[in-house]
Symmetry: C3
Subunit: 214 residues, 3 copies
């Protein structure tokens, strides 16, 4: 398998698991089958679409390559019919989601740098590629986005983006550093889930019991 084929495969795996997360959230909100598929598509492709629109790379990749639509649609349909079984695979889904996040962040940051975006802007684009689908998913479901409320999710994404930018600026080998950045994001995310880490919340305003503040 060539490097590019490998990257595309990994990208589609990320899209598959992100679609599972969007569709599961839609099932929990009792949306109909169409709503479940739309939420799956949005969660899987929203971050990449935001990235492409911000970079002026229109039409976005998701509209030009049919696999970026069929894969999440299939994942969402599977979720619709098999969500009780899927609940038992929660650990596997969370792990895949962490891996997908790492991949999306690295791909988004790299694409932004290639498009000539400044380093700090590229970090924002990379982070948004990773968390944008989840943001749209939660907004469509009428929730405050979970990535803004708790857990080391967006922070992991941002750190991964910084690693990509720094390694590109210092001329470090790009394939190795990309793998390292993706592994960092995925690892941080998994460890924060295991340890129930959360970012600090403001003092003096109490907690709403939804995060895991210390």
């Amino acid at each position: 398998m060539s490097t590019e084929a490998l990257l595309t495969t990994l990208d589609l795996v990320g899209i598959f698991v992100f679609a599972l997360s969007g569709a599961s959230a839609a099932v929990a909100k009792k949306l109909d089958v169409f709503g479940v598929v739309v939420l799956g598509l949005v969660a899987a492709t929203g971050g990449g679409a935001m990235r492409d629109v911000l970079l002026g790379a229109t039409p976005p990749l998701v509209l030009s390559d049919w696999r970026y639509l069929v894969v999440p649609a299939v994942a969402a349909a599977l979720t619709f019919y098999f969500h009780p079984q899927l609940a038992k695979l929660r650990r596997l889904v969370l792990l895949s989601d962490a891996a997908g996040l790492g991949l999306f962040v690295v791909a988004g940051t790299t694409k932004a740098l290639d498009a000539g975006v400044a380093p700090l802007g590229a970090c924002v684009v990379g982070m948004l590629t990773g968390i944008g689908g989840g943001l749209l998913r939660d907004v469509l479901l009428g929730e405050i986005p979970v990535v803004l409320r708790r857990e080391i999710y967006a922070v992991a994404a941002l750190l991964g983006a910084i690693v990509v930018v720094v390694s590109e600026r210092t001329g470090v080998d790009s394939v190795g550093s990309a793998v390292a950045a993706a592994a960092l994001v995925c690892g941080l995310r998994v460890v924060s889930l295991l340890r129930k880490w959360s970012a600090p919340t403001p003092r003096g305003v109490g907690t709403d019991g939804r995060g895991a503040p210390r």
Copy 2:
């Protein structure tokens, strides 16, 4: 009247009724007159603006042609002042909305194909042109978008988009097939309203009483 003038007229009729729907929702939420006008504008022009941004056709049509702003603003102002009377025209508004949906879907899909978007992507753009304004309207009002929750709305939009793409690929006469696709969307939507059809909801998670599941 030339074909183009006819199409523009139909488009503006669609924008007018979509603005009525957005403004009515804003009135129900007790927004002030400005909020009512903004919601009318968003519901009427949001789908087309999303389409143009995704296709890179910026600035979007709504910003270049004053009629695309004045018509929905007038519709929203009328709704603000005459909403009690408008409630009596509910059937007419729903019918016009169905017609507007058909028109928007056909126009959006055709524009995406003309811009060189792949077939499946063009279906997504066409559907989004039809339902995007309603999505934004509901998100701004803090609701889960109604098109994701119930009724054959987005499904009708998707089927219409598929008809446009298939007829374009198979070289069928484009005017006739466009009319057929718009009629299909409108007809499906009207029949689903009359019959209270809904798409299936997930098994095992109960219903929230807002749809009409069977």
Copy 3:
């Protein structure tokens, strides 16, 4: 200081105070430190990013100039740690916010006219530059955007945009009219706060007690 340096400085001041408003809203919702920073960034740069995406000026300015990211991030971090003290500066923050609104509207309308957008479309772009960040802030926090619900906020933005467009069309001196338009927006906003003005709400649907209807 040159005119351009002055304009950039004023722009960054506007971004700073808009970030305070976004971060304060996030603190009130008990988001974690990362969520507070993201909300600050979104409130400060969302309107400008919408403007640039609609005008096809991608990547948006916020991604190319690091100051447009560092300034709101610092403002949000300050808000996170010093929000109790910030509450005492409420009047100053509201005044700065009014000034920021005036500046954003004038800058957005001017940029749209320069990009060849039609007059009415330029008014919409200018208004959206001013209120877009607040819209996104409230949507991410699961609220109906406050600018749609009460107070002369968006109306002031729209009037300012109209002044810019009219003065550009009639060939009036642009620097003087830009200052006048920004002052009009800021003044209207401040007076409406002092007098508790609100735009009219629909008759016959009651009030929700959140605005200040007459």
